[in-house]
């Protein structure tokens, strides 16, 4: 029983810190930058081309205009309309 608890607090903290540092550095070591545009399906977020209750993609923090009159979204994949809306809507501050 005694042998099982012989790790000192200092050693445990050291190991904990090393583990944390290792997992924190993982994303930095990832080979390629994943897509910035969203990858979710529009249907899964109830996307529609029309505003809902006066809210639309143009005022959503996840929306980025693409210069063609439409835009991309951090959540759903593909082209989205500035007049669109989905249930992830979050008003831009």
């Amino acid at each position: 029983m005694e042998t099982a608890v012989k790790i000192s607090r200092r050693a445990m903290l050291g190991r904990s810190a090393a583990l944390l540092a290792s997992i924190a550095i993982l994303p930095i070591l990832m080979p390629s930058k994943p897509a910035v545009a969203g990858s979710a399906a529009k249907e899964d977020f109830n996307y529609q081309d029309q505003p809902r209750n006066g809210k639309s993609c143009t005022s959503c923090s996840a929306f980025t205009p693409d210069g063609t009159g439409n835009g991309t979204c951090r959540i759903v994949a593909g082209t989205v309309k500035p007049t669109g809306w989905c249930m992830a809507y979050s008003e831009r501050n």
């Binding site: 099982a4 924190a24 993982l26 994943p34 899964d44 992830a88």
Partner: protein
């Protein structure tokens, strides 16, 4: 323990300094939107994914089903959490001072660091590391690493994925299950009942679970996993947990989940009815994983309803777990009075939030089972005079969020029965209501 009493305060100072530095670092990392890493990754407000954190909305459930991968990977994908609290118990028994040594003390209850991020478009993680300010100990907390993908078209869709986690039900997307159920925060120093099922924390941060899940047409949600002792390559999933506290389970232990879900009015309303369960073969001695095991068969039924708008948000959850305990190892060894026991655990909760800022939760809980004096021994304050696990009560908590990432909670827990009785439950004259408590909490996310 390898460190003497004189060294302890010094190490606590070191630990506190490390935590303070981490918080300061996170403060520097954050821009004006001082929110956790998933919010930075998606650019969404906390309230898109949470009815009020930590209860998930349909958007939050989709984010989790998609493996935490939606949004843009952040260069420093860390987030932090701090809980400071004070607890006042209705009646302090001066004959048992150790049971109440933190009563009415302001405690740094918990500080957590999260590695919550997407790695690739299909792989993400939610990993929490927690410093317990009462026990002065830090270790891994909940961890869930996922792969997810989707196939289908406009009319038919299948989201599927793989989860590697260290706590049964941590991978679930509903707030009915034990890991994510109400109360979302509670006192770590109040007197606690003597019984709980295996699914209610019996294996938390001690095991490694690997499984596959799916969501079909947003209508059927299911999962099949197997849990194993977190050893060898999986030992990081119990990092910092003492061997004496880490359960050892025999072989692969199955866990399953099936739920029927429906959203309407573009996600404003959602409902779910489901079932889940697990069978665990556990060695009675954590330090000697050999010989016969005790078997725990848990079957649960749960249901949830949510109504979500900016102005008004409401939800209700119920969860019922039936556990059959077969003491194939403990009964012959004399640790239990019966060769088998049962436990039935029930939780119900209703929530209302106004303008996502002012909220109230009202909950009811009960756990019932047959008497087993060896399993639930008599002891002043914490024991049961009759060997009974029967406890029931209610929780009411008021929430105020002055900012979206700061929460103030005032919570009252009242017991109608405790460890078998309403009055004199411990045989030393203590009543269930003596354990009623008021808990005030400052809860911050960084």
């Amino acid at each position: 323990m390898g460190v003497n009493a004189m060294q302890m305060p010094k190490l606590n100072v070191v630990m506190t300094s490390v935590i303070a530095a981490a918080i300061l670092l996170l403060g520097v990392i954050n821009d004006a939107n001082a929110v956790p890493s998933f919010a930075r990754q998606t650019n969404l407000e906390c309230t898109s994914c949470h009815l009020s954190w930590l209860e998930l909305t349909p958007t939050g459930r989709q984010f989790k089903l998609n493996g935490y991968t939606l949004g843009e990977r952040q260069p420093i994908p860390l987030a932090g959490m701090l809980q400071a609290s004070i607890t006042k118990t209705n009646h302090v028994d001066n004959n048992v001072p150790d049971a109440f040594k933190h009563d009415k003390d302001v405690k740094l209850q918990q500080v957590s660091l999260f590695l919550s991020t997407k790695y690739t478009d299909h792989i993400g993680s939610f990993i929490q590391w927690t410093y317990d300010g009462v026990e002065h100990h830090s270790s891994i907390d909940n961890a869930d690493i996922r792969f997810a993908d989707r196939i289908g078209d406009k009319d038919h869709s299948l989201i599927y994925g793989i989860t590697l986690n260290n706590n049964p039900t941590v991978q679930d997307v509903y707030n009915t299950v034990p890991v994510w159920g109400f109360p979302y925060a509670s006192s770590s120093v109040a007197i606690a009942p003597n019984a709980s099922t295996m699914l209610e924390g019996g294996l938390s941060q001690q095991v490694a679970g690997l499984g596959a899940y799916f969501s079909w047409n947003k209508t059927i949600y299911g999962e099949l996993s197997a849990y194993h002792t977190a050893d060898k390559i999986f030992s990081p999933l119990k990092a910092g947990i003492k061997d004496t506290d880490a359960a050892k389970i025999d072989g692969l232990n199955p866990y399953w989940r099936l739920a029927l879900q429906h959203e309407w009015n573009a996600g404003t309303n959602s409902a779910m009815i489901g079932t889940y369960g697990m069978t665990v073969d556990k060695y009675p001695d954590n330090l000697n994983p050999h010989g016969p095991t005790d078997r725990f068969k848990d079957i649960a039924f749960d249901a949830q309803y949510q109504y979500i708008t900016d102005e008004h948000r409401a939800s209700a959850q119920i969860n019922w777990i039936h556990e059959k305990q077969e003491w194939n190892a403990s009964f012959p060894g004399g640790s239990t009075s019966n060769s088998s026991d049962t436990l039935k655990s029930f939780h119900a909760k209703a929530t209302y939030y106004y303008q996502m800022k002012y909220g109230i939760n009202v909950g009811y809980f009960s756990i019932r089972g047959g008497a087993d004096p060896a399993l639930y021994p008599a002891d002043e304050v914490t024991g049961s005079a009759t060997g009974s696990p029967n406890t029931s009560g209610y929780i009411v908590d008021l929430n105020y969020l002055p900012k979206r990432d700061v929460r103030l909670v005032l919570q009252y827990t009242g017991y109608t029965k405790f460890n078998g009785a309403k009055q004199n439950y411990d045989g030393f004259g203590r009543d269930a209501s003596d354990n009623n408590s008021i808990y005030a909490l400052l809860w911050m996310m960084f």
